[in-house]
């Protein structure tokens, strides 16, 4: 009875604490708020029409173009950009490179939110979203489908990242025993998460293996799963650099002076990793190009578009990363990370939208409602990220 009273008292304390933390802090009239609040409100109205009148009411999707930017950007690109979580946790917990320990929490949080919001946006895109649970509950399993693997992995990886981040929540709620217990599970969760990530990053590419006749041959190859996996590594590293740059400006009050100094070394290390991975990715692309005899395909507009992606947004940022690391130039690293991110976004959109049914005259273009909902998803994610970072010990641990 005494134990029950203690547990009840502790539970009430946590609820009161969480309720206090929910109250807004700081200024309301910031540029980000002014832009994002109307986007979120309009997006919610669009979603109302989407769920009441159907997906065709607000999107330009049809039987020929089932994949629009909600899948191409939110899901396929978003998951690639969230690759930093498994890369950094591998580097810190498996390779024991403690230099990067200070960015583990924020990177895992980014990854968790990316999966929850971007992969969660999948429910908006499904014609009958309540069927999303079918692969999980065993209704029409479809275990021969790559989508079966991807859906299970998304679910498991979200739970894994929630477990990896849970010590931070316990620390915030001042639950010391729970924090110690959850921290003890981290290594196992990290190893499980890395395994899941490698499989579903490549699994997303494998989804497009069945679309061979529909994807332009410059973007299709039987190695597309490997290319998706390798590119997710440098996409994640570039995203950490990009996000870290913004966080260091926006949340500078939460960081100590020592963090600023360590940050420079961390960015240089991340830039080195990105340069090496992009170099490998570029040569994979070159090998596939030669192996599949694509010489005659690069003489038209599609070829120039492909070369722009591979040379302009892979090889050039690769050299920029290498040069910047060598010369300890953070400015060039930040520019290179933006170019690398643009390259990833372009690559994923090329596979899913732009070069999909490339031979059609009547092509798919996203409606304004699709664009607003995509911006809404990104805006809400940033709101949640900001709320967590300003309250929990994400950037200011130790």
């Amino acid at each position: 009875m005494n134990n029950t009273a203690v547990v009840t008292g502790e539970f009430n304390r946590v609820v009161r604490f969480a309720w206090q933390e929910l109250k807004p802090r700081g200024k309301w009239l910031t540029p980000f708020n002014v832009i994002s609040i109307p986007i979120i409100l309009i997006g919610l109205v669009i979603l109302y029409f989407r769920f009441v009148y159907g997906i065709g009411f607000v999107t330009n999707l049809n039987q020929y173009y089932p994949l629009g930017i909600w899948i191409g950007f939110d899901v396929v690109t978003g998951v690639a950009l969230a690759g930093g979580a498994y890369v950094i946790t591998f580097v810190v917990y498996v390779m024991r490179m403690d230099k990067y320990h200070s960015i583990v929490r924020v990177t895992v949080l980014n990854g968790l939110l990316a999966y929850v919001f971007y992969a969660g946006a999948l429910t908006l895109d499904l014609g009958r979203p309540w069927h999303i649970v079918n692969p999980i509950i065993g209704n029409s399993f479809g275990y021969n489908s790559v989508l079966f693997l991807v859906s299970w992995h998304f679910l498991l990886y979200m739970l894994t990242m929630a477990l990896e981040f849970s010590p931070v929540v316990a620390e915030w709620a001042q639950l010391e025993k729970a924090r110690k217990f959850l921290a003890g599970l981290t290594l196992g969760a990290v190893i499980f998460g890395i395994t899941l990530s490698i499989l579903h990053q490549s699994g997303l590419g494998a989804l497009f293996l069945m679309a061979k006749p529909k994807i332009h041959p410059l973007w299709y190859s039987e190695f597309i799963p490997i290319m998706f996996f390798v590119s997710s590594v440098y996409a994640g590293l570039s995203m950490i650099i990009f996000e870290g740059t913004i966080s260091h400006k926006v949340f500078k009050d939460l960081l100590g002076g020592q963090d600023h100094h360590r940050y420079e070394e961390i960015v240089l290390g991340l830039g080195k990793g990105a340069a090496i991975t992009m170099f490998v990715y570029y040569f994979f692309q070159a090998l596939i190009f030669v192996h599949e005899q694509r010489w005659q395909l690069i003489t038209d507009a599609w070829g120039y578009w492909y070369l722009f992606e591979i040379i302009g947004l892979v090889l050039v940022p690769c050299f920029m990363f290498a040069y910047a690391v060598r010369n300890r130039n953070l400015g060039i690293i930040k520019v290179a990370s933006v170019l690398a991110l643009l390259g990833i976004i372009l690559n994923r959109l090329n596979v899913t939208v732009i070069a999909y049914r490339w031979y059609d005259i009547d092509k798919y273009y996203p409606s304004w409602q699709e664009i607003v909902v995509t911006l809404m998803v990104v805006s809400i994610e940033i709101w949640v990220f900001r709320w967590i970072v300003t309250r929990m010990p994400v950037l200011s641990k130790e």
């Binding site: 041959p217 005899q293 060598r326």
Partner: protein
């Protein structure tokens, strides 16, 4: 596009030895058909990769 993608080029003619075709009919000098270009690319990758690692391993002075 006039090009069959995902095809596997043969390293020479498809006719077999002993079917009345002389050996010199084979063209081992065609770098595309023998996949020589792929091997060269792979070797150059390994060499360049080592150079890149060496380049990144020794940070220079700040600009």
């Amino acid at each position: 596009m006039g090009l069959q993608v995902d095809s596997y080029p043969h390293a020479g003619t498809q006719q077999r030895i002993g079917e009345g075709v002389e050996m010199e009919f084979y063209s081992y000098l065609n770098i595309f058909e023998t996949k020589g270009l792929e091997y060269l690319l792979l070797i150059s990758f390994l060499v360049l990769f080592l150079l890149l690692i060496r380049y990144l391993a020794v940070p220079g002075k700040k600009d």
